[in-house]
């Protein structure tokens, strides 16, 4: 149903200049929404780590613009606005809605979205969406990722199934009271909610100005033109791929006790260059599991799309127009698809979801050298853990927040090495990284180190991003750390002869100097003097390491990403001189000889 089409009076296409102008203005409005949310928010995961996204959706629920938002957040915004338009028949100007219901199109309960319907001359024309990952959502344990939750009841999140938050621009205090009663550190939550409302209202203001300037009819015409243009761009990129049906699979780690076996995740891609279409089939996967790892509909779809777009021209606009060329097939009641209530999707944005992205990239790589990407790290251990406790410096005030100081080496591709601050397939390098000092002033903790683990990136003609080695602990009182970490048994895979990345390893460092290896899923209570340490996973390599330019290998050693030994053993590059006096250099002759010798040993 496209109610707007009937209102469109002018059906001739706009000229290309006007299309460019309006597209820029709309992207500018979304950037401004994002800036507002980032700078005005209270919790570290929004204000420091940028775990939020803004979007504008048409009144008939098609994603129009998401600027630089996290794909996992915004690609499904239209499902949320759809919930708004179908649940509320009395929408009017001045309304705002609060929506974090994963069974109604949201990603997972921690991602609260403020939706503001935008009216132009009394007609609902757009919806502004400001979605942010909350520091807490009232779960039964202090984490927004409750992997062990058998169902939504055990998860315990306060779910707002698209409820009215404002009427006539006034906040409905009933909703705020519900949140404040059930969410830990209520003032922080309220501050973040205010920031999200401000952000969505900025979007409203700008779209009203835009329509006043150009006229609503021109904007309606623009929307159709822009979707058509975006669709052409996607179709064009797909036409450059070979025709193929490709299957690929991988495994999420077993994380006892909730997953006693690894979970196989499977994708089937159909490439139809003649028709300019791709389909991603996620239906051949296990049914919903009695834990919090199930994918919501939005996450399954978004992550499949992210995997596809990561392998196409990055400048294609990502909106309902380009989405027309990519079909994602999901199944009701599937763990990697549409969750069946009351199965929990508490951790839908990361674990299974990130595997989908990597496995789709791997499927593209199967088209041949030059296509696709290796797999990137998705180990969300203590560096992405949720910490909680009380702060002795603030008269014992409670705190809870997600740490976002993971690096998670990125996947290598045909052109570039893996990104160092990749953060995981969902963050895709967009998220900011916590400041050590800021974390230490905001929470009563201290870091012992945060550095690159040398020799960790998957070797390849292009190298995977290196792992980070990081540890922190509480200062005067105990601190609880909750995390659910993949990649401790199944490392990110390489492609076309590139090596796999390393596995993640999480340990508890006791006061007596002993270390205890922690499981993939953990709720750890740290005492003062103890540290929790994570050596994260690293990205997979792409192409054979002995084809890597010797100069790149030399730089890797200088930069601390690689070691002299690995340069020789994996890359066949022999170095002379010393690292610290600047005399390190490639021994060309010895390298040529060494590489000849390595050829028979090259991995498949």
């Amino acid at each position: 149903v496209k109610p707007m089409d009937s209102q469109t009076t002018n059906t001739a296409s706009l000229d290309p200049v006007l299309t460019t102008v309006i597209a820029n203005r709309i992207d500018g409005a979304v950037r401004e929404m994002s800036n507002t949310l980032l700078r005005a928010a209270r919790s570290g995961c929004i204000a420091v780590a940028r775990d939020f996204s803004c979007a504008l959706v048409t009144a008939d629920n098609r994603l129009l613009s998401s600027a630089e938002g996290l794909p996992v957040h915004v690609f499904g915004s239209h499902l949320q606005t759809q919930a708004m338009t179908s649940l509320h028949k009395d929408i009017r100007e001045g309304d705002a809605f609060l929506h974090n219901d994963p069974y109604l199109g949201n990603t997972h309960s921690a991602d609260q979205t403020v939706l503001v319907p935008i009216f132009i001359d009394g007609v609902h024309m757009f919806t502004a969406c400001a979605k942010a990952h909350q520091a807490d959502i009232g779960n039964s344990i202090p984490t927004t990722y409750h992997a062990g939750a058998r169902d939504v009841y055990e998860e315990g999140a306060v779910i707002f199934p698209c409820v009215r938050l404002q009427r006539d621009y006034e906040t409905i205090d009933d909703v705020v009271r519900i949140g404040k009663r059930r969410i830990r550190v209520p003032e922080q939550w309220y501050g973040d909610l205010l920031a999200a409302i401000g952000s969505a209202r900025i979007g409203e203001r700008r779209m009203k100005e835009l329509c006043a300037k150009y006229g609503a009819d021109v904007i309606r015409r623009f929307i159709e033109d822009w979707f058509d243009y975006s669709e052409r761009r996607a179709a064009q990129a797909i036409r450059e791929l070979p025709a193929a049906d490709v299957e690929n699979e991988g495994h999420h780690d077993a994380i006892p006790p909730i997953l006693t076996e690894p979970v196989r995740i499977h994708v089937k891609l159909h490439f139809d260059p003649a028709g300019g279409r791709i389909s991603v089939d996620l239906r051949d996967n296990v049914d919903c599991l009695p834990c919090g790892l199930n994918e919501s509909e939005a996450c399954a779809m978004n992550n499949a799309l992210t995997g596809v777009f990561n392998c196409l021209d990055a400048t294609i606009p990502h909106n309902a127009g380009s989405f027309r060329r990519i079909e994602v097939l999901l199944r009701d009641g599937c763990a990697v698809g549409k969750p069946k209530f009351p199965h929990s999707a508490s951790v839908a944005t990361t674990n299974f979801g990130e595997r989908i992205i990597s496995i789709v990239q791997g499927a593209f790589a199967k088209l041949g050298i030059g296509f696709g990407l290796a797999e990137g790290a998705n180990s969300h251990g203590p560096a992405a853990g949720v910490i909680s406790g009380t702060d002795f410096r603030r008269r014992g005030a409670p705190y809870v927040n997600q740490m976002i100081i993971m690096a998670n080496g990125g996947p290598a591709g045909p052109i570039a090495d893996g990104w160092v601050t990749y953060g995981g397939p969902v963050g895709n390098g967009l998220q900011y990284r916590d400041s050590i000092e800021l974390d230490e002033v905001m929470y009563p903790l201290i870091f012992s180190h945060a550095k690159v683990a040398p020799g960790s990136g998957g070797a390849g003609r292009r190298r995977g991003g290196p792992a980070q080695d990081v540890a922190y602990g509480p200062r005067r009182d105990s601190m609880t750390v909750v995390y659910v970490c993949d990649n401790t048994a199944h490392a990110p895979k390489g492609a076309h002869g590139g090596h796999s990345g390393r596995c993640a390893e999480n340990t508890l460092l006791r006061k007596d100097g002993s270390a205890e290896v922690l499981p993939g899923l953990a709720t750890v209570v740290l005492e003062p003097g103890e540290f929790i340490r994570s050596i994260e996973a690293s990205g997979g390599g792409y192409g054979n390491p002995i084809e890597r330019e010797a100069e790149r290998v030399l730089l890797d050693v200088i930069d601390g990403f690689e070691t002299v030994d690995r340069a020789r053993e994996l890359y066949g590059v022999v170095l002379t001189g010393q690292l610290h006096d600047g005399t390190l250099a490639v021994d060309g002759e010895a390298t040529a000889k060494s590489r000849k010798h390595l050829v028979p040993r090259r991995r498949a």
Binding site: V17, T20, H318
Partner: protein, 695 residues
């Protein structure tokens, strides 16, 4: 007669502006000589002296102030010619400069390598020590190990050392001690301690500024000393000042001790110039200052008579370049200018830039082998440029080549050549409008309340169409548009600024601590001012606070209405000033929110400006054009357009569009319905029509 000389050493040209006591000024231009900057500088001064009909020696001998702006620091960084610098970090945190603060531009971008740190990892050394957030020593400084590291630095002939330890802002003891040992064991090797350069929280920002500063010290000390020596040898007896990124100038010795302030100092001067022109023309204190060159479009802001500053200035790309982090004039750059190349993407949409044809091969019309259509080619096709009279006739343009290049774009768009040229101009406008949007609207400023000051060689082509799109009614195109930065230096204050951290909250305010800190900062600023030679000792002090609601992470800068806190009414005034700023920028205020005060700043500005030219009123008259040629104006079609030579225009001239005014270094396009007037100070005052969308 006493003169003042300002010098802007750019990548290609060195611009010189010489003014006398009456406010009259002369411009000189010469090629920059990167090997020996003094040659280019003296050549440009000679050009100015010639047009003043005095000798170079006389001019220099009678100059009381010379303000020198240099891109030496920026260029050294871009070209990797900085000093061999060691970076000393707290043990366990050697990768601060690598990780930065995360984030990147480009959601699905997998074709770029991760950028290397400012100082390579093999030149980074760890120091065993640790201080916590409240300043307590967790791990004492291991001096034995540190001495070993410093001995190694001596052996390896390091030329500079940057020191950034965690929490040196809450307790500088360890950094101070590292400094003492460096002085003792590496005499003569310059170093920078992070808590002295930039005492703010967030280790990456502090470390990045510290590393950049230290790495420039040997080079800039030598450069500035050398410049001063040569000027003295040529008979200059006045005061040498150097322009800084803070939008002011400082004594050469002070700059050599903090060379980071010269990074990006050139673009920082354009907003200073913009403020002066707007004041002189009585256009008010809210100004958008644009500088359009061949490859980039820079935009900065003046608000309420003050140049807007930011701590988020990056060398290179945002997030992945190197953060300067000291408070600098907020200038945003995008890749759009006269040389920007037009192309069609795979969906059939016209794009302009960010690639530029540069100076070689340059736009197709330069006839140096370029075949891509650029903004300059489009302007030529539309008739805005005279192929025989470009750059005052010094360069002939190849009209046929421009036509061929633009036609190729038109064919792909299914449009005529003229329509394609118009489209290229409009898309270029849009890029610049987007940049202005991001620095104004997105920061809570309404551009419609501002005037535009447009500088740079390509500024006049679209200043009016941009203003019209943004709903801005007043545009100044200075006659010295092509030397905007050098003009700005003529009016720069001597500015010094210092900040310090004191964290306190408005519901439990540390009156004594804050007052003591502000007193200290003020005394230090006054001491710096007192050390100035000559008559420049009358400082205006301004006070700023970086604050946020408790629980927020990002600070807002608030200009403080007071310099001392007495009681509840001062706190109430502080709270209200913060609420207002927050509401303007983020559309909401938290009326019950407690405000956390973090960094306090005191700025001393010594006004050394010459009196502004008095604003005489010119008698309005309608000048006669020198010639006519057909120009195309989109929906208004092709019009036989009057062309005016700048030299033939007198103050008071009023010109109705369509019209073209040809200056030797820039061309002003007056679109149909727009108008231009020549002011008494010989600036062009442009007025767009309102209401017409001109698409």
């Amino acid at each position: 007669m006493s003169y003042r000389i300002s010098v802007d050493t750019g990548g290609t040209f060195t611009d010189v502006v010489v003014s006398d006591g009456t406010g009259a000024s002369v411009i000189g231009k010469a090629l920059t000589t990167p090997q020996r900057a003094f040659e280019g500088l003296s050549a440009a001064i000679r050009v100015a002296a010639e047009s003043m009909e005095i000798s170079f020696d006389t001019l220099l001998a009678q100059t009381d102030v010379l303000i020198y702006g240099t891109t030496r620091a920026t260029n050294a960084i871009v070209e990797g010619k900085i000093a061999k610098t060691a970076f000393l970090a707290t043990q366990g945190f050697a990768d601060i400069l690598l990780y930065r603060e995360g984030g990147r531009i480009g959601v699905h971008e997998f074709t770029r390598d991760f950028p290397r740190p400012y100082i390579p990892r093999n030149r980074t050394y760890e120091v065993r020590e640790r201080i916590d957030a409240e300043g307590a020593v967790v791990t004492p400084l291991d001096e034995t190990e540190l001495r070993g590291v410093i001995r190694q630095l001596a052996t390896l002939s390091y030329e500079a050392v940057a020191v950034c330890l965690l929490w040196s802002v809450s307790n500088p003891r360890h950094e101070v001690r590292v400094g003492e040992l460096l002085t003792e064991m590496l005499p003569g090797v310059p170093f920078t301690l992070s808590h002295q350069l930039l005492p703010i929280m967030r280790e990456y920002r502090r470390a990045s500024a510290t590393a950049i500063d230290a790495s420039l010290k040997p080079l800039m000390q030598e450069h500035l000393n050398g410049m001063e020596r040569e000027l003295r040898a040529s008979g200059f007896k006045g005061q040498l000042l150097v322009s800084t990124s803070i939008g002011g100038c400082l004594e050469a010795g002070a700059v050599a001790a903090r060379p980071i302030h010269t990074v990006k100092s050139g673009p920082a001067m354009a907003p200073v110039a913009g403020r002066v022109y707007s004041t002189a023309e009585e256009y008010g204190g809210d100004v958008i200052v644009c500088d359009t060159g061949g490859t980039t479009f820079d935009v900065g802001l003046v608000r309420g008579g003050e140049v807007v500053h930011s701590r988020d200035t990056w060398l290179g790309a945002m997030y992945t370049g190197h953060l300067i982090a000291t408070s600098s004039v907020d200038v945003r750059s995008i890749g759009a200018g006269g040389g920007s190349i037009a192309w069609i993407d795979s969906g059939g949409l016209l794009k302009v830039g960010p690639h530029s044809a540069g100076a070689v091969p340059g736009p197709a019309c330069y006839g140096r082998g370029g075949t891509d259509a650029t903004v300059t080619d489009a302007a030529l096709v539309l008739g805005y440029l005279d192929p025989a009279n470009f750059l005052g006739g010094r360069m002939k343009l190849d009209q046929a080549a421009a036509h061929r290049a633009v036609t190729a774009i038109g064919e792909k768009l299914g449009q005529t050549t003229t329509a394609a040229a118009w489209a290229i101009m409009k898309v270029a406008d849009e890029l610049m409008i987007g940049a202005i949007h991001d620095i104004t609207v997105a920061e809570g400023f309404n551009p419609q309340e501002s005037a535009i000051v447009a500088g740079g060689g390509a500024a006049g082509l679209n200043a009016l169409s941009i203003a019209r799109e943004l709903g801005i009614g007043r545009v100044i195109l200075p006659s010295a548009a092509a030397a905007l930065s050098a003009s700005g230096m003529q009016y720069a204050d001597i500015v010094t600024e210092e900040s310090a951290s004191r964290i306190t909250r408005t519901n439990d305010f540390d009156f004594a601590g804050v007052n003591r800190l502000l007193d200290e900062l003020r005394e230090r600023q006054q001491a710096i001012v007192a050390s100035f030679k000559g008559a420049f000792r009358d400082a205006k002090l301004s006070y700023y606070l970086e604050a946020r609601y408790v629980g927020q992470v990002w600070e807002l800068t608030v200009a403080l209405p007071m310099s001392h806190f007495e009681g509840a009414q001062d706190i109430a005034a502080l709270i209200e000033a913060f609420h207002q700023t927050h509401e303007r920028v983020y559309a909401v205020r938290d009326p019950f929110g407690v405000i956390e005060c973090l960094n306090w700043r005191v700025r001393a500005a010594v006004d050394i400006a010459r009196p502004l030219p008095t604003r005489a009123t010119a008698t309005a008259y309608t000048p006669q054009p020198q010639r006519r040629r057909p120009c195309h104006f989109g929906p208004d079609g092709t019009v036989d357009t009057p062309i005016f030579d700048a030299a033939a225009l007198e103050p008071g001239a009023v010109i109705a569009g369509p019209a073209i005014i040809e200056e030797p270094t820039t061309t002003a396009v007056i679109y149909p319905g727009d108008s231009a007037a020549v002011s008494a100070s010989r600036n062009y005052l442009l007025k767009p029509t309102t209401g017409s969308a001109h698409q």
